[in-house]
């Protein structure tokens, strides 16, 4: 018996009204993979992400998450949104935010259970924020907020972590620590992250899904200046990072 792939798209199109955003997408993300969806702004990355979450339905073709329709598989996905556009006075602590990830797992009515708190604290510990549990969410730094949102996603006990531009607004040093955390989590989970920063990401992920008009899957090692120029236009200045070859890198 072969396990279902974490994400599978077949001949999938998506259009808003008549505006075709994604055309003929074919891709498979095996369980346990660490992939990045990259593409310039307006390329359809966010649309692809919403299709994975089941917030949008494909105009044509098929999309499956763990072998199910995306809307049904939602609770198996831990979603980490871009940057939370938040009221700085919103009265929640890091623990309160993390607990929200327990919705859909815990009982519907009344307050949180002891088990919810135990789980939420364990998730905060996993992202290195156990000592900040009781801090006002707004008082945390950008990186700590982002890690709290990962803890919130983990609290629902997901099989896949889906992150939308997780490093926007973080400085390079924090970003590096952040990707190390994701590598750590990748031992247990499939990780899909959306980014416009191809250069940095490619040092960590195993494969890259490029979203332009068409969606192309590259093993990390095949990303060359040409691919990037194709995607972003030729006047894009490329900053080289060390590209690491992953194990399954050449089976294109």
């Amino acid at each position: 018996m072969t396990p279902h792939s974490a994400l599978h798209c077949e001949n999938m199109d998506f259009a808003y009204e008549r505006d075709m955003v994604l055309r003929d997408v074919n891709l498979t993300v095996p369980q346990g993979d660490f992939v990045s969806i990259v593409g310039p702004n307006g390329s359809g990355k966010t649309t692809l992400l919403k299709l994975v979450l089941g917030l949008l339905k494909p105009t044509r073709g098929r999309i499956e998450v763990f072998g199910q329709q995306p809307a049904r598989a939602r609770r198996r996905i831990g979603y980490v949104p871009q940057h939370p556009r938040l009221d700085p006075l919103f009265p929640v602590t890091a623990l309160d935010v993390t607990l929200m990830g327990r919705l859909g797992v815990t009982r519907r009515w009344g307050s949180w259970l002891r088990d919810d708190r135990v789980q939420a604290l364990a998730c905060l510990e996993q992202v290195g924020l156990a000592d900040r549990a009781d801090h006002h969410f707004a008082s945390l730094s950008g990186g700590q907020k982002q890690r709290t949102l990962i803890a919130r996603a983990l609290a629902g006990d997901p099989q896949m972590l889906l992150l939308d531009e997780p490093t926007s607004g973080l400085d390079a040093h924090v970003e590096e620590t952040f990707y190390r955390l994701l590598q750590e989590l990748n031992r247990q989970l499939t990780i899909v992250l959306v980014s416009h920063d191809l250069g940095f990401v490619s040092g960590f992920v195993r494969s890259v899904i490029c979203v332009g008009r068409e969606v192309v899957v590259h093993p990390t090692s095949n990303i060359t200046g040409e691919v990037i120029a194709d995607l972003y236009g030729s006047d894009m200045r490329l900053i080289r990072h060390d590209h690491r070859c992953s194990d399954g890198g050449h089976e294109h």
Binding site: L55, R74, P81, D87, P91, L103
Partner: protein, 279 residues
């Protein structure tokens, strides 16, 4: 100090005891629901609901006096009008995302206009209009008190059951959706609770002033609270202090209690906001 006259008078007059108790009961839901109104930023919606209450009051008053429909008390009329306008505003804001503020303004003004026409069609004294608009907590009777108590209990009970979902919907509706929370249903629930609380507070300070009493105690509490329940508890205590203080301060010099309550609330808000910036 003339406001000290209030306390000896309290033991002599049942109407003062009713007023005090009504203010205290309303304060509980004021703190709980005001907190959500402030963090979800729907005070303009609450304002629209409050003003449309006049239509319910006016229609109930008219049917009472002219057609002898006695079961439709002004309080029941307010509840129905508030729930109806909350549903209209909620439906519009979910279906037609833009132009929400225009519709709120329309509900606001049409509700008032309808109320004023119904009151002018009703024979008898028109002083009722003033007490609807600016509140007359001293008119609260024993029967109103039961209704205020029941509504307060209902509001607190519903929030106790669903505060997890309500908080998640206010904090990040998209994430709440992905966790299987029915965001639209809880948004409607929140508007319904706001409508009921508005009706409670209208008996205390009247239609025009209600928005300040609903939001300012919660806004002050927001500057000090780190968690939802702290904000609710502090807002409720502040609301109780303001309503009791307004009643006591207005009694001696015979000033309108609702207006004095709001002056006290507003002054405290500006004073605290100037001194305290962030938690």
């Amino acid at each position: 100090m003339s406001f000290l006259e209030f306390f000896p008078a309290l033991s002599d007059h049942a109407f003062l005891q009713y007023a005090l108790l009504a203010g205290l009961l309303a304060s509980i839901s004021c703190g709980v629901v005001g907190t959500f109104v402030v963090i979800r930023r729907i005070s303009y919606i609450a304002g629209g609901i409050a003003h449309s209450v006049l239509a319910g009051l006016g229609i109930a008053h008219y049917l009472n006096v002219v057609h002898g429909v006695h079961w439709l008390t002004p309080m029941l009329g307010s509840v129905l009008a508030a729930l109806l306008s909350a549903s209209i505003i909620g439906w519009v804001s979910l279906r037609l995302h833009q132009r929400e503020d225009t519709v709120i303004g329309a509900v606001w003004a049409v509700g008032m206009a309808l109320g004023i026409v119904m009151i002018s069609l009703t024979p008898g004294y028109t002083t009722d209009l003033m007490s609807y608009l600016f509140g007359n907590i001293l008119m609260v009777g024993a029967r109103d008190l039961w209704l205020v108590g029941a509504l307060a209990l209902l509001v607190v009970g519903v929030v106790a059951l669903f505060h997890k979902q309500l908080l998640a919907v206010c904090f990040d509706p998209e994430f709440a959706t992905l966790r299987g929370v029915r965001v639209q249903a809880f948004y409607f629930l929140l508007l319904g609770l706001t409508a009921l609380t508005v009706v409670l507070l209208v008996t205390v300070v009247g239609i025009i002033l209600v928005i300040a009493l609903l939001t300012l105690p919660a806004a002050i509490a927001n500057l000090f609270a780190r968690r939802l329940w702290q904000m609710m508890a502090l807002a409720a205590v502040l609301c109780a202090i303001f309503t009791t203080g307004g009643l006591a301060l207005s009694y001696g010099p015979d000033l309108p209690a609702g207006a004095v309550t709001i002056l006290l609330t507003g002054t405290s808000f500006f004073a605290v906001a100037m001194v305290k910036r962030r938690p």
